[in-house]
Amino acid sequence: MSTRTRTPHGATEPVTTRALSPHRTLATARRVLRQLSHDRRTIALLLLLPVLLLVLLYYVFDADRRSFDSIGASLLGIFPMITMFLVTSIATLRERTTGTLERLLAMPLGKADLVLGYALAFGVLAVVQASLATGVAVWALDLDFAGSPWLLLLIALLDALLGTALGLFVSAFATSEFQAVQFMPAVIFPQLLLCGLFAPRDSMQPALEAVSHALPMSYAVDGMTEVLHHPDVTGAFVRDALVVAGSALLVLVVGAATLRRRTT
């Protein structure tokens, strides 16, 4: 009769908890957005900062509109990743430290529900953020690109999901907000330096070039550059989008695995 509890780390988890419930995923996304709605300043910063930085960039390249075009397009893909990374890592760290994560995982919530709920909420936010930034870049700042703005939006959205996934993942390794924000330069900056924004990737030291092939942000920037130069959807664009989407999915799965129902 008596069944022994399996230990350690509750190694055997019934399949039922893995199951995804659209209802709970949506409820989680709505809850995350509701939390943000009580924090108007964060929303304003999230939405306006990319726009203001683009305007700044516009005047920085006052005499060099071509550079503005290429760097501006890259930044449209980079902003969502950075902001969603920061917001998610702090939000999930808070869930861990305030005990709400422990409570949720003691309730009938699948880990996928939680992770996808976050991805959905921040995905929505990223779409608004990227639409605003792209709109301003195209209409007000005359950012000149050959392809469709929808493709820019798509890359921006995938990038935001990647940022959310990375933020969720690193929050497992942070025990304080101080540590969490330090992960931003640790995870994002190397990608920023190697993504081809500062120097073409094929001009880098070969070892670094090889590393840059393994970093998802490189593909996000490449994808943006494709849209900049080609009016149609190119094979390279499809590849770039798939790599970013695949990386986001992979990191989300790894991030979900860091959520433990049993902790020490």
Binding site: S2, T3, R4, T5, R6, T7, P8, H9, G10, E13, P14, T16, T17, S21, H23, R24, A27, T28, R30, R31, R34, Q35, H38, D39, T98, G99, T100, E102, R103, L104, L105, A106, M107, P108, L109, R260, R261, R262, T263, T264
Partner: protein, 264 residues
Amino acid sequence: MMNNHPPPAVRADGLHVVRGGRQVLTDLAFTVPRGSVTGLLGPSGCGKTTLMRAIAGTQARVTGTLEVLGRPAGSAALRPRLGYVTQSPSVYADLTARQNLDYFAAVLGLPGAERGRQVEAALADVDLTGRADSLTGQMSGGQRSRVSLAVALLGTPELLVLDEPTVGLDPVLRRDLWQLFHRLAEERGTTLLISSHVMDEADRCERLLLMRAGELLAEDTPEALRRTTAEGTVESAFLHLVDRARAADEPWPAHTGQKGRTTP
């Protein structure tokens, strides 16, 4: 006749927990009968929270037998049947009380109309209807812990595990909450396991588990404890048992007593 009885709410045997490399719970054996209000008492650091986490299925490195409602603690099937209130309130500070409850009710899978009804009932149970639309982060400590308690009441769980739910509350509110606990046991047949280190709350319980330094000192009714120790109050009975256990801990002088454990 006997086989028709449902299994006890909690049954532990040879239960051990290791935390931070230390044995925190040692060889616990006890049962919590269904529909009872059981107090878990003991000094700070004796392992009350650890035991409750083990029962809720959030504690790692648990060995031995621990059955909750007839299933191994931590089983997925138990999650909707058990309400757990952590010692520090685990609710979202940036949501209102009602929004918090609404989200957790959705996680429990309560359908729309039923969800609204249960949320209002839970708010009324903890006397927060008037503050339902205040941000939880702007509430007093006692109010916040009542929001946390209200969350656990959702979905009418069969077992409520409450970690110091009345700490920091005024006498009137404490009395009201204890009345609520007994009402839940009587009207809904809910089993309640309530920890406290305030001994005057012991007499409000039908049964007591007395702990010290990770071990169980006694498992009995308050009257029986007072009788077997020939003390007037549960507090002095507890001190009596602690002294006896301490004396037994010491290698000399040879003491007659074993570890004090009264059996019902």
